[in-house]
Each structure stands twice: as structure tokens, then as C-alpha cells.
Symmetry: C2
Subunit: 183 residues, 2 copies
DNA sequence: CCCGTGTGAGACAAAAGCGTCTCACGTGGT
DNA sequence: ACCACGTGAGACGCTTTTGTCTCACACGGG
């Protein structure tokens, strides 16, 4: 009976990442609920996006925790992180393109926390000699987001099997980030 | 006096790629022109997106031509292509997330032409033994788009210097795509 | 069984955005 | 100097979207 808030947000993210101009009515129908009910849970479009942001940050942070990125070799930590990030992929794919969140003063500090942890991971890899040092941690961080988004999009589109998600991303990202013996 | 159509489209892409819900008025102001003038050149939002699509396809195809991707080693061809793609980066970044273009029957065949040429390049690299074969050409193609977009965003945001654009993307993409001796 | 809670559907006004028009202005060419 | 053209600003009616409200209904617990 009662609406599952998280499930609604997930459906909203899936739709909005494909059609950012979708109306509240379309979001509601995509979530399988009425527009009135959607409005009962989220005051408006802005509140909806904020809720998506919050959920995304929580899931991404949970992924960082679950992957125990501080432990073991950095490349394996990245591999675990990519796998753990898959549930949050569509959320990330949408929110990364939602610049409204980053302009203005009320910017959610969760993003900088995420960035900091991610950057720290890449920096650790560089200091341990696992990652090449000619690619800045900030760029690796950015590329991580981008590849997660591309992966989510490719999976949703059927171009990549969902099972290959982690492998494709991790292999591409690590292959580029890992210092290779030649060169 | 007369408005530079291409420049308007470029400004529109830069804005829309970070705020897909931007109004025509915002687009006009971002381009430094009045809303009426924007309307004189593009009948509506849809026409604007179509024009962006057309320009993007033209520029991407020009980049493919300019990079002469059929010549020389595949990895060097990719490197040339990344460099040649920089002017079209923000356009690509926006349009890749605009799925409205891909659903429906009036889909521009330019995209499949681009995809085909890009896929052929990666496939050639695999057959020549330059690229690893466990990452599908389709995924490499997708990742290429994604990294171009991430790079454009990182540059626009000041996280990466514009001069490093090509290097960062090509190194990350190729490092992952190139078969390394270990493993 | 019955009542309370949460829901879907629809009506409704307000707001936002769009597309068109007019008009004054400034620039560039004649 | 003059004229023509393209522009910016703003007004206007229209459509779409939004946010709120009401009401009937289904479910679930007491």
C-alpha cells in the first residue's frame, strides 16, 4: 500500500537520466504512482532532485564503505569500488549532469566528501606506485564518474550486459590508471 | 552585428550540457543574445536541439576525417582523434545525454555512421593486436564518448587545463585499451 | 466487521514557459 | 547623410506544467 520512497527515487533517476525534461506526471507514471502521491512525498521538482541527490550521496558513500577503499592495493580497491557502485550508477549518471546542484550556496557538502575520498584513493595508488602520476587524481576522479555514467547508459541501452558492467569499467579505468611496465 | 549561428549553438551546448532544463531565455542570455533573436534563428527548442545535433555530427565527422583514423597504428589514430574532437566536446557531452534523439523514427543516421567509423577503428586496433580484445568495440566507443564528455566538463569547470584535455583522455583511454604485456 | 490511513483520479487556479508580434535603436552599407 | 537590416527589449495570448484540493476507493489493523 504505502509507497516505497527509495523505489520511487530509483524510477525517477532511471527516467530523468534519459529525459531530463520529463514532467512530474511522467515521473509519477514511470514510478507507477499517481501525480498526487508523488507530490505528497516530494513537494516539487526541486525537492525531488534534492532527494535524489541525498540518496545518491548515501549510496555512493555506502559503496565507498563497502569497498573498504583504504585497504589493500589501490587497484583492487578501485575494482571493489566499481562493483559496489553499480546500484548507484543511474543516480550518478543523472546527477552528474545536473549542474543546478553545484551552483549556488546551498551546495551539498556530501559531494566534496565523496570527491575527497575518491581523490585520496587515487593519490594513495600513486604514492604506492600502483597508479601513474601523470594523470591527476582529480581527473581520474572525474573519469571515474564519467565511466560509471557511460556504463550505466550502455547497460540500460543493451549495448553492454549488466554482468559486464564492473569488468568493463574497472578494466578500462585501471588499465589507464595503472602504471604499465613499458613506457 | 549579425549573430554567429555556430557560436550561439556552442554556447547553447555548453549551457544545456550542464542544465538540460534551461529555458530558451537562459539559452539566449548564455549566448549573449535576446530571446527574440534566438527565436529568429531557431523556431523552437526542438529545432535548436536538431541544429545542435546536426552541428555535432558535422564536427565529429570532420574530426574523424581530420584525424585520418584509417591511417597508421590504431592507438596513434585514437590520439589524433581525441585531439581533433576537442572543439566538438561540449556538443557531444550534451547530445549523448539527450535520448530524445534516439527514440522515435526520425533518428538521424549520422550517429550510426559515427558509431560505425569509431567501432571500426577500435576493431582494427584489436585485429592489429594493439588493443585488448576483452573490451568490446561498442564499449570502447561508449567510453570514448563518456571520457570526451567528462573531459569537456572538467575543463569547463577548471579542474583540468584545456591544454591537458587531449593528453588526459587519450592516455586514460589508450592505457586501458592497449594490451599491456603483463596480464 | 468497521474505521483509519494512504492512494488514484480528476478538477482547479496559479505560474512558468513558449511563440509571436511590435517598436525603438544602433550599426553598416549605399 | 540616409536607409535598410538585424537586433534587444518588452508585451501579449496561449499552452503546458505545477501545486493544491476534493472525493471515492482499496487495503489492513483493531
Amino acid at each position: 500500500m504505502s509507497v516505497d520512497r527509495t523505489q520511487v527515487l530509483r524510477a525517477a533517476a532511471a527516467l530523468l537520466s534519459r529525459k531530463a525534461t520529463a514532467t512530474m506526471d511522467e515521473v509519477a507514471r514511470a514510478a507507477g504512482i499517481g501525480r498526487a502521491t508523488l507530490h505528497r512525498h516530494f513537494a516539487g521538482r526541486d525537492a525531488l532532485v534534492r532527494a535524489l541527490e541525498q540518496l545518491c550521496i548515501e549510496e555512493a558513500e555506502a559503496a565507498l564503505d563497502a569497498a573498504r577503499i583504504e585497504e589493500g592495493p589501490a587497484d583492487e580497491a578501485v575494482r571493489r569500488l566499481v562493483t559496489a557502485s553499480q546500484p548507484a550508477a543511474s543516480l550518478l549518471a543523472f546527477l552528474v549532469t545536473e549542474n543546478q546542484l553545484f551552483e549556488g550556496d546551498g551546495q551539498n557538502e556530501g559531494w566534496s566528501r565523496l570527491d575527497a575520498r575518491l581523490v585520496a584513493l587515487f593519490r594513495r595508488g600513486q604514492e604506492e606506485g600502483t597508479f601513474r602520476i601523470d594523470l591527476s587524481p582529480a581527473w581520474l576522479c572525474e573519469a571515474f564518474y564519467g565511466l560509471i555514467g557511460s556504463g550505466a547508459w550502455a547497460v540500460a541501452d543493451g549495448r553492454v550486459a549488466a554482468n559486464d558492467f564492473s569488468y568493463m569499467i574497472a578494466e578500462l579505468l585501471l588499465g589507464g590508471a595503472r602504471r604499465s611496465v613499458e613506457k
